[in-house]
């Protein structure tokens, strides 16, 4: 695998980022892009068609598919690439994710859209996810101080993890107190409750399990792939209560069944989850089965998901401090799993991981696409 540093890459174009990621991959694997059978490129807003990859890499008439599934785009590239080799259609494939967001002059994420009738409320992403906070507090009887502590703990943990990661966009620790006092952006969310806007790219070389030994003696095995796309009716469905992502719950069930995981809370060794906003990570702990429903906030505060806790979540800093170039994030999560299983995670190393989980979600509460992968250094 290869992964660029994520950040404000004023001096790098999307082409540069793609080349950097693939170059790192080629150097570590000894495989040139020209020897790869097929490519999947994940990018949400940085261009259309496979040309976005073939042009900078000078791929000659290779099959290159551009995929998009909002913030699960990078994972979608991996998922399709995996099925391509599993089906026998190809033997060696590459999944690349890239996003160049910092050439825009806008604040916050801007997603181009088709013509509409002007009847949807124009909300920013922080506002969309801010609905989770009062709903969770009310349903589970959490006071605003307790909630604020839990959310700040999540952000602080992720910044602390990112501080140990040379590839992270933000590599500085930030105290929970600073986070709690930062300016309001939307609802109860402060600046530090929100992941930022970054550029970056990552790439993975994928083959069938039985061929892995040709390329490395420490492969990472994909044990489950799951994608769940909801009906998108949450915002006008009176039965949706903003305390869960039903799409994630459903997605997790499928993934756990594939990998024969019966108790994720104890069997998952580490997880990279979609912490676009702090309450998202909190709710995901329950949706993924890492915490009992309604107790996630307590587990967060007890340190269960800290880097030295029972189930480290976002050990590489997460979207929060590593950054979120949309198309690359899913691959970046797998990159951390890759380093962890190979013992190459340095100061972030988790001891003897067995199962890793990566999770991405795109959209907003009530209208989600959810992806989960389960990976291991053990083929079965």
């Amino acid at each position: 695998m290869g992964c660029t540093k994520f950040g404000d890459h004023w001096d790098k174009s999307a082409d540069d980022l793609v080349i950097d990621a693939v170059k790192e991959l080629s150097e570590s694997s000894g495989v040139l892009a020209s020897n790869v059978d097929a490519f999947w490129l994940g990018t949400a807003v940085t261009g259309q068609s496979g040309l976005v990859l073939s042009k900078p890499l000078k791929l000659l008439n290779k099959p290159v598919t551009r995929v998009e599934n909002m913030c699960a785009t990078g994972s979608e590239a991996v998922r399709n690439a995996c099925y391509a080799v599993a089906s026998g259609a190809y033997d060696l494939v590459m999944a690349v994710g890239v996003e160049k967001l910092k050439d825009s002059n806008m604040t916050g994420l801007v997603v181009p859209s088709s013509p509409t009738d002007g009847t949807s409320v124009d909300l920013t992403a922080p506002a969309m996810f801010s609905f989770l906070v009062p709903a969770y507090m009310k349903k589970f009887g959490v006071s605003s101080e307790e909630m604020r502590s839990a959310l700040s703990h999540i952000a602080s943990k992720n910044h602390s993890n990112g501080a140990k990661n040379i590839r992270a966009h933000f590599q500085r620790e930030v105290s929970a107190e600073t986070i709690s006092k930062s300016p309001r952006i939307a609802g109860d969310l402060n600046v530090f409750d929100c992941s930022g806007i970054s550029d970056g790219a990552a790439a993975a070389l994928i083959c069938r399990a039985e061929d892995a030994h040709k390329y490395t003696d420490k492969p990472m095995y994909v044990r489950a792939l799951s994608l769940a796309v909801g009906t998108g009716t949450g915002s006008f469905d009176p039965d949706y209560d903003y305390t869960t992502f039903p799409e994630v719950v459903s997605c997790a069930k499928v993934a756990y069944e594939q990998a024969r995981i019966t108790d994720p809370a104890t069997q998952i060794s580490m997880a990279e989850v979609h912490d676009c906003f702090t309450p998202t990570e909190l709710v995901l702990m329950e949706d993924l089965g890492f915490s009992e429903r309604g107790s996630g906030w307590r587990d967060v505060l007890s340190g269960r998901f800290d880097s030295d806790g029972q189930l480290p979540v976002n050990p590489d800093g997460g979207l929060k401090s590593f950054g979120h170039p949309i198309g690359a994030s899913g691959l970046r999560m797998l990159f951390e799993m890759w380093l962890q299983f190979r013992g190459e995670a340095g100061a972030r190393q988790i001891l003897n991981p067995k199962f890793g989980l990566t999770h991405n979600l795109g959209g907003q509460p009530g209208e989600v696409v959810s992806f989960i992968s389960l990976v291991s250094n053990d083929p079965e």
């Binding site: 002059n105 806008m106 604040t107 916050g108 801007v110 013509p115 509409t116 009738d117 002007g118 009847t119 409320v121 124009d122 909300l123 920013t124 922080p126 506002a127 801010s130 609905f131 009062p134 709903a135 009310k138 309001r184 952006i185 939307a186 609802g187 009906t231 009716t233 915002s235 006008f236 469905d237 009176p238 903003y242």
Partner: protein, 440 residues
């Protein structure tokens, strides 16, 4: 009969339309009250001196917003202050039911008379075969003289000379008053009330003094300022709201000459009352807010993309939703969906639904948020998830709220408001929710 108005107070006062209101939204608000659920008028006459758009009429949009069928004629007849009386004449001559909407904003350069003595407001009247009020007679005088004018694109009107203008106007107004009384063999004592409307307060006062008919009700509207095309409407609506059956009212307007009208009420005037106070919920705003709202000063906005004009073909396909706020109700399982859905989100039935008019249904706030970055004409954007009585949930902007005073469980009602103006001048309107005013 109805009128809609809000006030601010201070040393002098005038009404100010909110940042998300314009002549068409205020007109809709008045009309909804006047119609009381009857959506049958066959013609709509809309008068304003501040049309939000030209070439494209606003009346046609307003009729769709009011939930009326496409099978009727909706006409803009505004541009001049006198147009409002003209609209009333047109509607009263129609054989079928019609609706008149008078709505306006008056403002000018900072410190001008239009700013100080103007006001924003709207009124609406329904006309039918069985009216609560009959027009007995109309007498008009017309003058070509250039006393007051405003050229296209100018902010604020001009008058040739204050005293000359008011003298001319008063003279015409008193003349038509005397003519109409003589023609109908009536004396001032026959009238229970006088409604006087003129852009010149001095002229109005002269007329009241000369005729010696009580114009007390009409004068109560003075606190709002001169309401342009809506001025006659609001004064008349308030006067009728406080009239008894069997009373005669003399109406005089001064503009381009003068018009006089004699009205007579009958028993139906009681049921036509709307039961609203003259001054409802009001909020004071400061001069900076007022200048920004009227776009006399522009303010730096956040770095978000410019608002886009709604796509005309998309809006056309979704007409009932986009304008009238019709949701869909599944005929199989009863689930209400906003916006309308062809495939029911609850039972999966395909194309088994009927339109349901949601605009008059009240709702309760389930949750809300405040977005401090999203583009807004008046940041921050407050967005609520609201549950309608009888079913249906919707996520929309909240208006007329103080962001930190909004609470879950607050009761809200839907209003039609301006969402944004695109760089190409197209206005995007839609429905917002506002707190229901508590009845005291």
């Amino acid at each position: 009969m109805s009128a809609a108005f809000r006030t601010n107070s201070g040393r002098g006062s005038r009404t100010v339309a909110s940042y998300d209101e314009d002549a068409s939204t205020m007109g809709v608000e008045a009309a909804r009250i006047a119609l009381k659920g009857n959506l049958e008028p066959k013609s709509l006459w809309f008068s304003t001196t501040h049309p939000p758009i030209l070439d494209k009429g606003s009346a046609s949009t307003m009729s769709a917003v009011l939930g009326m069928s496409n099978l009727m004629g909706a006409y803009d007849v505004g541009g001049s202050i006198r147009s409002s009386f003209g609209a009333i004449r047109m509607a009263s001559n129609e054989k079928a039911e019609s609706l008149v909407i008078l709505s306006d904003l008056r403002f000018g350069k900072p410190g001008s008379d239009d700013e100080i003595y103007g006001g924003d407001g709207s009124a609406a009247f329904t006309f039918s075969e069985e009216p609560a009020v009959e027009i007995i007679d109309i007498v008009s005088e017309t003058s070509p003289v250039m006393d007051r004018w405003r050229s296209e694109g100018s902010i604020g009107s001009q008058v040739w000379d204050d005293r000359w203008t008011s003298d001319q106007q008063a003279k015409s107004m008193i003349s038509v008053a005397n003519q109409i009384m003589a023609k109908n063999s009536m004396a001032p004592s026959d009238f229970s009330a006088l409604v006087v409307s003129s852009a010149s307060p001095r002229a109005s006062a002269s007329v009241s003094n000369a005729l010696k008919i009580s114009s007390q009700l009409s004068e109560q509207v003075n606190q709002f300022g001169f309401l342009g095309s809506a001025d006659l409407g609001v004064r008349l609506a308030w006067t009728l709201e406080n009239s008894e059956p069997g009373q005669k009212i003399l109406v005089i307007t001064g503009a381009d000459g003068a018009d006089a009208m004699i009205l007579e009420t009958n028993e139906k005037v009681i049921e036509s009352r709307v039961g609203m106070p003259l001054v409802g919920r009001s909020e004071e705003i400061d001069i900076a807010t007022y200048l920004i709202w009227r776009e006399l000063v522009s303010r730096e906005s956040s770095r978000r993309p410019d608002p886009e004009a709604p796509s005309a073909p998309v809006a056309s396909r979704n007409q009932e939703w986009k304008f009238g706020f019709f949701g869909s109700q599944c005929t199989e399982c009863g689930s209400r969906q906003l916006p309308p859905q062809r495939i029911c989100m609850k039972c999966g039935s395909i194309d088994q639904s009927q339109n349901v008019l949601m605009s008059d249904i009240k709702a309760t706030i389930k949750t809300f948020t405040i977005d401090r970055i999203a583009f807004s004409m008046h940041p921050p954007t407050v967005v609520g998830v609201i549950d309608f009585d009888g079913g249906g949930r919707f996520r929309c902007q909240l208006t007329e709220v103080t962001p930190d005073k909004v609470k879950v469980s607050d009761r809200v009602e839907m209003v039609y408001r301006l969402i944004s103006i695109a760089p190409n001048g197209v206005r995007n309107y839609f429905w917002k929710a506002r707190p229901i005013e508590e009845v005291l």
